[in-house]
C-alpha cells in the first residue's frame, strides 16, 4: 500500500470516567479511501474529533505527513490540508449555499472574485449548481450533506475526514453521492470515512479499521474484515459469530 498520510498512534481519551478511545492506532494510506467502522458508541467520532483538533487526547499522537500534529487547533489543521465534515450537519443556516462554500474557498484565496469562482465550481461539482443562491436551511438532508462536502472540498484538502456523510440518505441518494466521493479520491485526495452504510464501505473503501469499545479490533481489506468473527461479535453480540457459523472468538 501507499505511504501513510495520516498515522494515529496509540491514542487514548477519557470523558471523566468513561474511556472513549483506548490506545487506538490506525493509518490512512495516501490517495486511498480508508473506512473506520464499528458499532455505535465505539468512539469513532471521538477519534475524528481528536484527529481534526477539536479534542486533545490524553495519550498518543497523531501524525500527518510525518509531522506531529497532536492537539493543533482545527483552523491550523485546515490550513495544513485536513478537512472534516460533521456527523450532524452544520450549515451556516442564514447564508446561501454559495456563501457557505465561499467560507471554505477563502482559506487559500484571499480575493473575493477568485474565491467565488472556486465556490461556484465546487458547488457544481457536488451537484448543487442550481441551488447556489438558495438559503442553506432550505436544502433537504441530502442537499445539506452535499453542502458539507462542498465546503470541505473548497478548502482544497489533502486529507478529507467524512463523518457518517451517508447517514440519513435513502438508497438512491447514496447511489448518487458515492461516485462524487470516489471522484475526490481520483483527484488525489486521501479520504478517511466513518460509515455505517456497509454497502458503501464495501464498494468505496480499500482499507477498513474496526473500532469497538474504543479499541481497534480488526483491520484489513473490506472482505477480510467482514469475514472476521471478532467484527461480527462486536456488531451482533457475543456468540453471534458461532451462531452464524463462524469460529468462536474466545
Amino acid at each position: 500500500m501507499a505511504k501513510s498520510l495520516l498515522v494515529v498512534e496509540r491514542v487514548t481519551h477519557r470523558f471523566g470516567g468513561l474511556l472513549a478511545v483506548n490506545a487506538a492506532s490506525l493509518a490512512a494510506p495516501e490517495g486511498h479511501i480508508t473506512a473506520l467502522i464499528g458499532p455505535n458508541g465505539a468512539g469513532k467520532t471521538t477519534l475524528f474529533s481528536i484527529i481534526s483538533g477539536f479534542l486533545m487526547p490524553r495519550e498518543g499522537s497523531v501524525l500527518y505527513a510525518d509531522e506531529d500534529i497532536t492537539g493543533e487547533p482545527p483552523h491550523k489543521l485546515a490550513r495544513r490540508g485536513i478537512a472534516r465534515t460533521f456527523q450532524i450537519v452544520q450549515p451556516f443556516a442564514g447564508l446561501s449555499v454559495r456563501d457557505n462554500i465561499l467560507v471554505g474557498a477563502h482559506l487559500h484565496h484571499r480575493a473575493r472574485h477568485r474565491a467565488l469562482a472556486i465556490a461556484e465550481q465546487v458547488g457544481y461539482g457536488v451537484g448543487l449548481g442550481d441551488m447556489l443562491d438558495r438559503p442553506a436551511d432550505t436544502l433537504t438532508i441530502a442537499g445539506r450533506k452535499r453542502l458539507e462536502l462542498a465546503r470541505a472540498l473548497a478548502t482544497e484538502p489533502k486529507l478529507l475526514l467524512l463523518d457518517e456523510v451517508l447517514a440519513g440518505l435513502n438508497p438512491s441518494e447514496i447511489r448518487d453521492i458515492v461516485p462524487i466521493i470516489r471522484n475526490f479520491c481520483r483527484r488525489g485526495i486521501t479520504i478517511m470515512m466513518i460509515e455505517h452504510v456497509m454497502q458503501a464501505v464495501m464498494s468505496l473503501a480499500e482499507l477498513v479499521f474496526v473500532l469497538a469499545e474504543g479499541r481497534v479490533i480488526a483491520e484489513g481489506r473490506p472482505a477480510q474484515v467482514a469475514a472476521n468473527p471478532a467484527v461480527v461479535e462486536a456488531y451482533l453480540g457475543h456468540g453471534a459469530a458461532a451462531k452464524l457459523g463462524g469460529a468462536h472468538v474466545r
Partner: protein, 330 residues
Amino acid sequence: MRALAPIFVVVAALAAVPLVVSSNVVLNFLVVALLIALAGQGWNILGGYGGQYSFGHAAFFGTGAYVTAVLQVRYGVNAWPAFAAGIAAGAALGALIGALTFRSGLRGSYFALVTLAFAEVLRIVASVAPITGAGVGTLVKLDLRVEAMQFQGRAIFYWVILALVAASLVIARLIERSRFGVWLVAVRENEDAARALGVDATQVKLAAMVISGAVTAAAGCFYVQYFLFIDAPIAYGAWISVEALLTPIIGGVGTVFGPLLGALVVKSLGEAAKLITGDAPGLDLIVYGVVLVLVIWIMPRGLIGGLAQARNRLRRRAPAAAPSAEAGHG
C-alpha cells in the same frame, strides 16, 4: 467602487440637508441621531456581523469621550489629536476586553455579562476618580475655533458627524466584501464549523472587537466636542449601551445601513413619545425597551431584513424559474 455607490448616494443626500433646513432643533436632532448611528455601527460590526452581543458598549463610548476630554482639559492637548487618541483608546480597550474574554472562550450569555460588568466598573471608577472630575464630570472650555474642533453653527458639526458616519458605512461595506467579513459572519453562524474550515475564530472576533471599539469610541469623542461636557452616567451609562445595540437591531443587524436607519427610527420614536406625553424622565427608554421586544418578536432581522424577506416572498410568487430545482435531489 460600485459596491460603495449606495453609500455615496445616501451620504450626499444627507449632506444636502443643512442646505435646505435651517431649524436648529431639526439639525440638533439629526446630529444626535447620527451620533447614535455611529455608536450603533460600532456595535453592529461585533454583534451584527460577528454575532457577539455586547451589553456594555458604553465602555467604548465613555472611554473615547473621557480620553478626548481629559487630554484637552488637563493636558492641553489639541482637540484633533485628542480625538484621534480617543479612538485609539477605544480600539485598545476592545483589544483588552477581547483578549481577556475570547481567549477564555466566553460566548453568549457570559460575553453579554462580561461586557456589562466592564462598563459598570468603568462607570464606578469614573464617578470617583479625580482625573475624570468624579461626580462633577469634566467640562471642556468653549472655544469656537476649528483648531479646537468646535464650530460656529450646527451645520458644520452635522457635516463632521456625517463624515464619521460615512466612514463607518464604508468600513462596514468593505468588511462585508472582504475575506475577514466572510469569516466573521461564518463565526456568527456556526463557530465550530467555521474553525473546521480554517477560520481562526478567536483572532477574527478579536479584530472585530477592536474595530467595533474604535468606531463606538469615535461617537463618544464627538459627543464631547458637541456637548462640551461629560460625566460618568453619560459616558458609561446604560442608556448608550442600550441605544448602541437597539439601533442595529431595529434597522437590521449585520447590514451596512441598519444602524443608520435604526437610529433615525429610534430617535424619532423618542421625540414622538416626548411630544405626546411631555418630557418625563425614563419615557424614551420605555419606548425603546418596548420597541426592542417588539422588533425581536415580529421582525428579528430588523427593518432592512424585513424588507428583504418581503422582497424574496414576492420573487418566489413570480413564475417558477426552474421548477425542477424544488423537487429531486434538493
